[in-house]
Symmetry: C2
Subunit: 606 residues, 2 copies
Amino acid sequence: MKIIDKINQSIVENKPFFSLEFFPPKTKAGIQNLYDRLERMARLEPAFVDFTWGAGGSTSQLTLELCQSAQKYFALEVMMHLTCTNISEAEIRSALNSARDAGIKNILALRGDPPVGSERWVKRDDGFAFGADLTGFIRTEFDDWFGVGVAGYPGGHPESASLESDIAHQKSKVDAGADFIITQLFYDVEEYIQYVRLCRKAGIECPVIPGLLPITNYQRFKKFTDFCQTKIPREISDQLELVKNDDAAVRAFGIDLCVKMCRELRDAGAPGFHFYTLNLEDSVKAIVGELGLIDNASSRRALPWRQPTVPERNNETVRPIFWSNRPQSYLARTEAWDSYPNGRWGDSSSPAFGNLNDYHLIRSGLGQQKDKRLAEWGEPQTFEDICNVFVDFCYGKITHLPWCEGSIRPESKRIETTLVELNRHGVLTINSQPQLNGVDSADPVYGWGGTGGLVYQKAYVEFFVSPADWGMIESALKLCPTVSWHAVNNAGDSSSNIQEGVNAVTWGVFPGKEVIQPTVVDSVSFEIWKAEAFSLWKAEWAQLYPEDSKSPVILNTIADEWYLVNLVENNYINGDIFKVFEAAGLLIKSRVRDSAQSVNEDMLNI
Amino acid sequence: MKIIDKINQSIVENKPFFSLEFFPPKTKAGIQNLYDRLERMARLEPAFVDFTWGAGGSTSQLTLELCQSAQKYFALEVMMHLTCTNISEAEIRSALNSARDAGIKNILALRGDPPVGSERWVKRDDGFAFGADLTGFIRTEFDDWFGVGVAGYPGGHPESASLESDIAHQKSKVDAGADFIITQLFYDVEEYIQYVRLCRKAGIECPVIPGLLPITNYQRFKKFTDFCQTKIPREISDQLELVKNDDAAVRAFGIDLCVKMCRELRDAGAPGFHFYTLNLEDSVKAIVGELGLIDNASSRRALPWRQPTVPERNNETVRPIFWSNRPQSYLARTEAWDSYPNGRWGDSSSPAFGNLNDYHLIRSGLGQQKDKRLAEWGEPQTFEDICNVFVDFCYGKITHLPWCEGSIRPESKRIETTLVELNRHGVLTINSQPQLNGVDSADPVYGWGGTGGLVYQKAYVEFFVSPADWGMIESALKLCPTVSWHAVNNAGDSSSNIQEGVNAVTWGVFPGKEVIQPTVVDSVSFEIWKAEAFSLWKAEWAQLYPEDSKSPVILNTIADEWYLVNLVENNYINGDIFKVFEAAGLLIKSRVRDSAQSVNEDMLNI
């Protein structure tokens, strides 16, 4: 999708958007860190992310790779920077061809800074002199394939004679085919207002997005604004001087200032906010949170899962539930499909999942995360220790499990007490959803698909369990005729009460549409997921420890001997998926536990 | 589907089935009448129908045609008779090839009666002598393509030496590959019981279906039983003699007798009942009604509409609602599709409906029905007269409209008062369904898809309306944001508040399955239906009258000037589709009308 379309939609809906800029890290560890960060920041649902151009050789290759991965695995809308610094027309054409082949639809066309070490910018004989030339080239050579953004300079371009000549330059870039302008950073909102006024006067009609750098560190702020020759209003520099020796205070001041600026910018008509993140996470997260730009994210979801932005996957409408906590793995393993789904799920034809290993190409930096993982998961000495890791995850005390790339989802909070109880009893849950009986599709927790509809869910729980406990559960399941179940161990012993087929567990009914059923449980892909799920005990957990220590022995025993089980309670009106655990003696009947009652409007309105 | 599979299923479920036998009529009018009858009797949901073999030439061709049409247009399971009388092996092979090409899956393999005029049966040198030979031939030449039934003679075969030699014959037919036995008619239930006992003793294990001829007319009964040398128990002939001069009494006696026999047969273990209808309708209808074989038909429906029995249409899962009262027309117009649906409805690609005229090939006998139609619809002199025809249809006083091949459906009875009121005000309704919010899928009126599920509906109403009234309705629709609508006139002026797309208006949620959504409203096929709907004013109604009379003028005016409109109330929880008519002044607000409240379990249990 072109970013200009998103911007325009946001203008029509009168909802400000935000976007995030990153740069290619210099080290392998830095790259891995950035991927982790992208994964987390993707959940904030930025309108798009962009990556600066690593002028020349391997760094520009990395820019392309980052753009591509952000699209393919993190389902982010992407814009790639491209500069004219020290690059020939032929190389630019080749870079644009690569971008197009990678499915990238947006370019930020820049002249670029002088190369490091040079004082002033020099045009190459076989290259371009201005952002406008590059913009024109993109339009001439690639027609409408790319959306094009260009830079704007509210404080004036450092090399330009006057603001007037800047505006003339700006006009030429827009006339050459740019869709929108992103401004250089500034701290004086009045500068932006003036600048937009001048643009409009000059006949520039396109959106002008303010570019903002939250102050996170005094030294870094000084260095950066000096380099950019940014004008800092006296009031701000005075206040900053007062706290400059207290890092936490600087950060807090930076957040407050940025929030204040955003509100003023919004009042002045800015359609959204572009953040220069410098690859940092916390301040921007706090700012967009404060501005209320993420709280209603759910109701904006078109489907319960984040839709990929690569054009090939535009028509994707259904996924198996198993990967819902490992979306990147799912995207990687289904990358080679011609169609999504690969055959309707209803056909129960094998969906031809890609090799699990492909996914690890972008997740290869596990070593980098070892300390974080060890801190979260400790060194389990007993099965009980392992149960406690799962309990901590249920409570939100830790934010990762090998099967869950992020914290437990808000909708699972409803059944927290029960999940904790189950995990204490050795039923190690890795995925669940409560049942819904017609909840407003705009509900912030459960909603998706836009307004005006009703969404439904069948209760689902998926867990690892010891062979002995599975025996008890299997007997108990005989008393629960409305539950569909499938159990399998790593050796492939598989049993189930269902025919091969597809069970829709999430669906939505909307005005004027077919019933949309984006999440399913099916036996064929469960068998594929099972291989991934068992392998993660070893690949992501056991290998953290020395081979001769106790932890890997326990973890490998679970991987080799335990069962992976999924249960679906088909009665989404008044079924109780946890009854089976009571019947199996794994939940104490008398103890208070969360109601499994179906969520409906009446309950939510209490 | 093979009939033996249906029989076995019926045995497993312990639900008796029934089947109906017809013969090829001798005249064109008779054929048209039989088609009308098939249309009505199809609604009784017989397990299958069979057609006797018109030995030689055009009559056998007619048998084939009847079988084919019953499958294709009436969605009936079909069995074709085939006899060895006066036919060569090559001709039999050719007949079987034709049957296979027509998708017929079941043959009743008979020796046949002696040709008319001959006293005894003579084997042709190039033909077969016994049903067993024909059965063996079918198995040898066509392997498992056909299911094969054979005849049984509880009263003994007229030409056989003894019941013992009969049983030996029977055994040879089953050994040659027959799946089941249908008996010759009898009136002594004990004969059947004895016969089955002898069969079992001889090692014949297949189902033995009793063949029954309800007595409908004294003379015909005498003639038929004499010809078949049927033994009539003294008790029956005595009682019949008492009423033989009173036709109505004979028919009533025949019904009572047959019901009594069926109950005794059921107690004796008969899996179902085969009725020799002699192409008559009323007695059999009364008998299966009395036996309770049709009252729970709804809950047995796999989908809300009757599923076609031709193998090509096995995977059909979705249809536009427009043809729901003209299913044969829909089947005829979609006959040439390669797949059902032809492209998912969601694709909104043109579904390539066949020409309307193709349908009339099997409905060409309109002339035959002229009197019936005139009696129902009269000779309307005013618009009001026409409104009254529609009102009569709502009340069930008449059973046809050009757009409705049968009486108003039971589910529409809920909103009868409102429909009547609308039609009185000139809103001529031709299709509607009430809204359902999770009704038991086994509900006798609303249910389909088997047990254990919940079915849903969005309220729907489709009607013709004058341009002036349409103007008022269109204004009123602005007050009803949850209603999707589409209006079009014969000239093609079309307006709608919906994007091209598909609105599922009937869906069901079942354990372990995807959400099934068998009925949709979509703009593309509405435009095709519209042509058919407007043409019916003229083709089926106006042409009943002399050209220079008043009726056709009024009817043609409606066809040429009025609008055809469909409305969907998307709020199936607590919407009210009729509010728009109140707002348009076409329903009196203060007058009591049926609740449009969504049907749910609580309401049905009151």
